[in-house]
């Protein structure tokens, strides 16, 4: 048994899992406050990465500025998607809404393919990210460490936002009961738009990070698919559950890779292992690990 490889993969799993957790949080944020299952979450992430990359390479902006502009762009994008595409669908059957987000996902894929091309492109080396540092005998890329730090920061900000800020509380109130929220003077429309804006923005950040770690390409939208087992594992409407689910999926993937490479030699266990575990967990806990039970009514 190669313990070194095992721990290396475990660390990788944790770090990637945190990123999955961040994207899963964005997904849950939209689901919880607007009851929309957003199948285009992965494309949001790719869009953020592409926009930032274009600003850095084509417009020659310093990375920091490009990052800020990308955030602003993603906020505007989230608001436009909500108001133009989803607001008219309020009150329509859930299946129509799902079809629309799937349509949005396909549309965005094609559009990004057209504008940004089909090739993977690398970010210029901004932070010396390809350097490797040694922690307790394990080699960790600086980029991975950065992404870990950023994930933790995003999660902390989410926690603070929903616990202590006026708008965060308003979003939770809207998620709990829209009529009660309205009676308190909260504008439901505004809250919906805010949920999409925040979700798009944070997905964009995750996209940039993944883009720096790997490279930017349209296939990064796979994270949007990985997020489903994470979110369902955590229980669809729980933000904590999304983080835990994300980490579980990330770790599982890498452990499956380890088991596969060392013993089983089946190939490609990496991609499907999380889904097997998902099925088993859902057999035991149908509402996910942290989900509320009345979720099926929605």
């Amino acid at each position: 048994m190669k313990w070194e490889l095992f721990f290396q993969l475990l660390i990788n799993g944790l770090i990637v899992g945190m990123l999955y957790g961040v994207v899963a949080m964005c997904f849950v944020l939209i689901y919880k406050s607007t009851q929309v299952v957003n199948f285009a979450q992965g494309e949001f992430l790719v869009l953020g990465a592409w926009v930032c990359l274009a600003l850095v390479t084509n417009m020659q902006l310093p990375f920091f500025l490009a990052f800020i502009f990308t955030l602003i762009f993603m906020v505007a994008f989230g608001i436009i998607v909500q108001t133009v595409i989803l607001r008219p669908l309020i009150g329509e059957p859930i299946i129509s809404v799902i079809m629309v987000t799937i349509g949005l996902s396909i549309f965005m894929q094609a559009l990004m393919n057209w504008i940004f091309g089909n090739d993977a492109k690398r970010f210029p080396d901004v932070f010396g990210t390809t350097d490797v540092i040694n922690i307790a005998g394990l080699n960790v890329e600086v980029a991975y460490l950065l992404s870990l730090v950023l994930s933790v920061v995003i999660m902390a900000v989410f926690f603070w936002f929903f616990r202590f800020t006026r708008h965060g509380l308003a979003m939770r109130a809207t998620a709990f009961d829209q009529q009660i929220a309205q009676s308190l003077g909260i504008s439901v429309k505004q809250t919906f738009a805010m949920a999409w804006a925040i979700s798009a923005m944070v997905s964009g950040v995750a996209g940039i990070v993944i883009g720096i770690v790997n490279s930017v390409s349209n296939s990064l939208a796979f994270v949007g698919i990985k997020v489903f087992p994470a979110v369902i594992l955590g229980g669809l409407d729980s933000i904590v559950g999304a983080v835990v689910g994300g980490i579980i999926v990330g770790v599982l993937e890498n452990l499956a890779e380890f088991a596969d490479g060392q013993y089983l030699h089946l190939g490609n266990l990496y991609t499907i292992a999380p889904f097997y575990v998902l099925i088993i967990i859902l057999m035991i806990k149908p509402y996910g690990l942290f989900g509320t039970k009345d979720i099926e009514r929605i």
């Binding site: 939770r172 109130a173 709990f176 009961d177 009660i180 309205q182 308190l184 003077g185």
Partner: protein, 275 residues
């Protein structure tokens, strides 16, 4: 003293804070729930709106606060005025900013949040609120809420009602609409809650429209009262007049006059008298 038949509400006295003029509410475009309802709330007074189940009391409050849209209802006729301004079409959140706050039936507590978070959301419409001091002020009104640090969903029914009223205080409204504050509470708690309503009115000068089934308690704290049946006001007057009215005694307060047998109190009888 004979109570008058429902006033038209068109003549707006200067001290009328809210007037509902001849409104009609239709649900799903076919079900007529309110049929020409008139009522006035005087500034600084407690006005009780009484009636049986299904009379349309809660619908009236939702019509005033514009919360009908989410239930597929709409005001199809008439107008609602608050401080002389037409608020029939105004959005619910704008109305809260103007100083009208609804304490919903079943309290509308956000169960998965703490007491403090619930109170903070009460002040949502006032971004510049001094939250700490104002929350302390609410705790002075309701000392027992201060000890509750867990989720609001775990509070007792009485405490939840107090939290709902405290949350309304945080909005610093001029007019509070209260939907059945006595629902599901023990008689002792009902008494306490009504005492609090009276204090809100006397100490903070908030005008109150109180919707109730518990006519006895409501008329004891109210200054004026309306009685509603089938989407219409059938009787109005000062609280004292209503309490002295033979029919009200018989149908809403229990007892009254000489004891009559059940067959005398058939429903058609009151229809004949009041409609």
């Amino acid at each position: 003293m004979k109570p008058q038949i429902a006033a038209t509400g068109e003549a707006m006295a200067t001290d009328t804070i809210l007037s509902v003029n001849n409104i009609e509410v239709v649900f799903n475009e076919v079900i007529l729930v309110l049929r020409g309802l008139n009522l006035n709330v005087q500034r600084g007074k407690i006005t009780a709106l009484l009636g049986t189940n299904g009379a349309g009391k809660s619908t009236t409050l939702k019509a005033i606060t514009n919360l009908l849209a989410s239930e597929d209802g709409e005001v199809t006729r008439g107008s609602i005025q608050y401080e002389g301004e037409d608020i029939t079409e105004i959005g619910p959140e704008a109305l809260v900013r103007k100083g009208v706050f609804l304490v919903m039936e079943g309290r509308g507590i956000l169960q998965d949040m703490t007491v403090i978070e619930n109170l903070r959301l009460g002040a949502y419409s006032r971004p510049k609120a001094k939250l700490k001091e104002e929350i302390e002020e609410v705790f002075r009104f309701f000392p027992r809420l201060k000890e509750r640090t867990g989720l609001a969903g775990y509070l007792s029914g009485g405490e939840q009602q107090m939290l709902a009223i405290g949350r309304a205080m945080m909005a610093k409204p001029k007019l509070i609409l209260m939907d059945e504050p006595s629902m599901g509470l023990s008689p002792l708690l009902v008494k306490e809650v009504f005492g609090i309503i009276k204090r809100l009115n006397r100490e903070l000068g908030i005008s109150i429209l109180l919707v109730e089934q518990n006519a006895n308690m409501a008329l004891h704290v109210a200054d004026e009262g309306y009685i509603m049946e089938n989407g219409k006001i059938v009787l109005d007057g000062s609280a004292q007049e209503l309490m002295d009215n033979e029919d009200v005694k018989e149908f809403y307060l229990g007892g009254g006059g000489e004891r009559r047998s059940f067959k005398d109190i058939k429903s058609y009888k009151r229809r004949k008298r009041w409609l």
